[in-house]
């Protein structure tokens, strides 16, 4: 299997994964979620990870997101080997290197947008004053400068997801890791969100989007397809989808048109 990123004109790698495996024990049976995955993602890349459910893409995402440990293999983030770190060190790295965007936003109830965005800075030990300023800046960056004191129930779904993105960006992570980011949005707001991702990509942010939606995947510049715990294909997107008229959209998006839990 050819490693696409090695051809990618010399940018520093953010993520280097070598022969990563993950085996769960479910009752008596062993489940091989990952059977040897190698993947390099360099700075500034916009990568989509796709695959059917059970393909191992969630497991891979948990690995990349430092939420879980591998059974064997090596994972380096910005050159630092992380597969044998303590829980606290992993938490610190999550805080510093990774910004999470979830399908269901995962905002705190009855908490202002600014407070939501301050959360990673709280755990980073940033002073209240500085963290409030940086939170407002991050909200401005996602176009919510005028919604700083709004609570989730006063924001639309798209705005809530933007708050989540501001929260992901506020600590200047190496990587924005999004899990079905448009899954809970209607197609129009989903489109706006993808446009925001495009902007971030242009600004040099490294983006990894896990999705089962072809349209969302084709907004990236590289698609990694998983099946049965191995990488089936890893290729650049030759014709990137741009702002397609809503009528032409696949119905996959509409399927996830729900409100946050």
């Amino acid at each position: 299997m050819s490693d696409y990123s090695s051809e990618n004109g010399g940018a520093a790698p953010v993520i280097e994964i070598r022969d990563l495996t993950k085996t769960y024990l479910m009752g008596q049976t062993e489940v091989h979620a990952l059977r040897g995955v190698s993947l390099t993602i360099c700075e500034g890349e916009y990568v989509a990870i796709v695959g059917a459910s059970g393909s191992g893409k969630s497991t891979l995402m948990n690995m990349i997101g430092l939420l879980d440990r591998s059974t064997s293999g090596s994972y380096r983030i910005r050159g630092e080997e992380v597969s044998r770190l303590s829980r606290n060190r992993m938490a610190d790295l999550r805080n510093r290197e990774i910004g999470f965007v979830f399908q269901s936003f995962n905002l705190l109830a009855r908490t202002s947008a600014r407070r939501q965005v301050q959360l990673p800075l709280f755990y980073a030990g940033v002073s209240e004053r500085q963290s409030a300023r940086r939170a407002v800046e991050a909200l401005q960056r996602v176009g919510l400068g005028d919604r700083v004191d709004h609570r989730p129930d006063e924001l639309s779904g798209g705005q809530q997801q933007r708050v989540a993105i501001a929260r992901a960006l506020v600590n200047n992570p190496s990587l924005l890791l999004a899990d079905e980011p448009t899954g809970a949005l209607d197609s129009k707001t989903g489109e706006e969100l993808l446009a925001l991702f495009d902007d971030l990509h242009r600004q040099g942010m490294t983006l990894v989007v896990v999705t089962h939606d072809d349209h969302v995947a084709h907004r990236a510049e590289r698609i990694v397809t998983l099946r049965d715990g191995v990488i089936l294909s890893d290729e650049p997107v030759r014709e990137r989808a741009s702002s397609t008229p809503i009528a032409n959209r696949t119905n996959a998006l509409a399927a996830g048109d729900g409100q946050p839990a």
């Binding site: 459910s53 969630s58 995402m61 948990n62 997101g65 939420l67 879980d68 829980r87 606290n88 938490a91 610190d92 999550r94 805080n95 510093r96 999470f100 979830f102 399908q103 995962n106 705190l108 109830a109 009855r110 908490t111 407070r115 959360l119 990673p120 709280f122 755990y123 980073a124 030990g125 209240e128 929260r167 600590n171 899990d179 079905e180 839990a261």
Partner: protein
């Protein structure tokens, strides 16, 4: 100071979930209010009893006969009045008490009639609301005069004050009312309010025809005012003289008993202390229940906030961060609950204080406040540990339910 910032997080979370928070606090609120109010009632009752005993004078000795047939006589009282032999005894007043029927026209009252000497009034702190106590001369001359307690006067005459200078009949004999006593307030049976006082000679002679012992009128009790700094001495002198006069051998038991107000005070103190501990422990149990309530709701809250915990971990919270957050939250909840409980008990104490003629006040002492606040905070902390540990152990992947 990172720990301080968790208080902000805790307050945010409490404010964001007002209903859940107030339900969590409810147990502690009720517990603290119960502890403080019951202990306040205990202290209030103690203070009231102490005050009643002290109002009768702590330097008072009461002597009464024991066993069948009184051997206590007027002669005993006279002998004890000898200051040169009993320097610790200031005043000795013999009493002869019996029950009699008092009538005023058709009004009737069954009353303890007490035959005493005029010195009885200052010894027992009796004060007249109208008129006066009888004089030495009246006592000497066995005049038929009577001083009525407040309740007795009110029973016989519609208005207590109208009794003055009227005539009442005691067992049919006419007596002139020369005084009505101030309401003493000591409730219940045996207080001066429900008694009538006549010269002792009248009681022993004409009224009740008291039995004699070795040629002397017997008495039913003696009130002795002693030197307050020499109470033990006073008791010993009284005992010695009475044993000699009653010709008791070294192996004979006393045929009288000496009652000391100070020891009564001590006894009352012990009783009320026990009462306070008893009431307090009932309250403490409700505090414990309140603490368990906190644990219950915190456990529910941990389950309910699984996603929040997962998210906090995803954005970099250490296990210790989550532990501290939940621990401090339950600590803050319990402390706020404790403060509200205090407020309620103060409100109750104030309300009780406003009830007219209530026998005692609810007294909330600073130690009780500290104790209640300390115990409620501690129970918040202790009962917060388990839910906080549950929160800490949550796997962020499970918590977030990726995909």
């Amino acid at each position: 100071m990172k720990v301080l910032r968790y208080f902000v997080v805790a307050l945010d979370s409490i404010r964001a979930n007002k209903l859940r928070s107030s339900l969590t606090m409810l147990g502690i609120i009720i517990g603290v209010a119960a502890v403080l109010t019951t202990m306040g009632i205990g202290s209030g009752a103690a203070a009231s009893i102490t005050q009643q005993i002290e109002s009768q004078g702590t330097n008072l000795l009461s002597v009464s006969p024991t066993g069948g047939g009184s051997t206590l006589t007027m002669g005993d009282a006279e002998a004890l009045s000898d200051r040169s032999l009993h320097p610790a005894l200031l005043t000795v007043v013999p009493e002869y008490t019996a029950s009699a029927t008092l009538t005023n026209g058709s009004s009737e009252s069954q009353t303890q009639v007490v035959g005493v000497l005029p010195a009885y009034a200052p010894v027992r702190n009796l004060e007249a609301a109208a008129g006066r106590f009888f004089s030495e001369e009246e006592a000497e001359a066995n005049q038929r005069v009577v001083v009525l307690g407040d309740t007795v006067a009110a029973d016989l005459f519609a208005v207590a004050a109208e009794a003055l200078n009227q005539q009442v009949r005691i067992n049919g004999e006419p007596f002139q009312v020369i005084g009505v006593l101030k309401k003493s307030g000591s409730a219940g049976f045996g207080g001066p309010d429900s008694r009538a006082y006549v010269p002792i000679g009248v009681a022993q002679g004409r009224l009740f025809n008291a039995p004699r012992y070795r040629g002397d009128y017997t008495i039913t009790a003696m009130s002795i005012q002693a030197d307050g700094t020499r109470m033990e001495e006073a008791e010993r002198q009284t005992e010695l003289t009475l044993r000699l006069r009653h010709r008791l051998g070294p192996n004979d038991d006393n045929d009288f008993s000496i009652f000391n107000q100070a020891s009564l005070l001590e006894l009352a103190g012990e009783v009320t202390a026990t009462l306070t501990v008893f009431l307090g422990s009932i309250g403490a149990i409700s505090l414990l229940v309140g603490g368990i309530g906190i644990m219950n709701i915190m456990l529910v809250s941990v389950t309910e906030r699984t996603r929040e915990i997962g998210l906090r971990k995803a954005v970099g919270a250490h296990d210790s961060d989550i532990l501290l957050q939940f621990l401090i939250e339950s600590l803050v909840l319990a402390t706020i609950g404790g403060l509200i409980g205090m407020g309620i008990s103060f409100g109750l104490a104030f309300a009780v204080g406003r009830i007219p003629n209530f026998t005692f006040a609810v007294i909330i002492e600073p130690q009780a406040l500290l104790l209640a606040l300390g115990v409620s905070s501690a129970s918040g902390f202790i009962f917060g540990i388990y839910p906080a540990m549950r929160a800490t152990r949550l796997d962020p992947i499970e918590a977030l339910r990726f995909e």
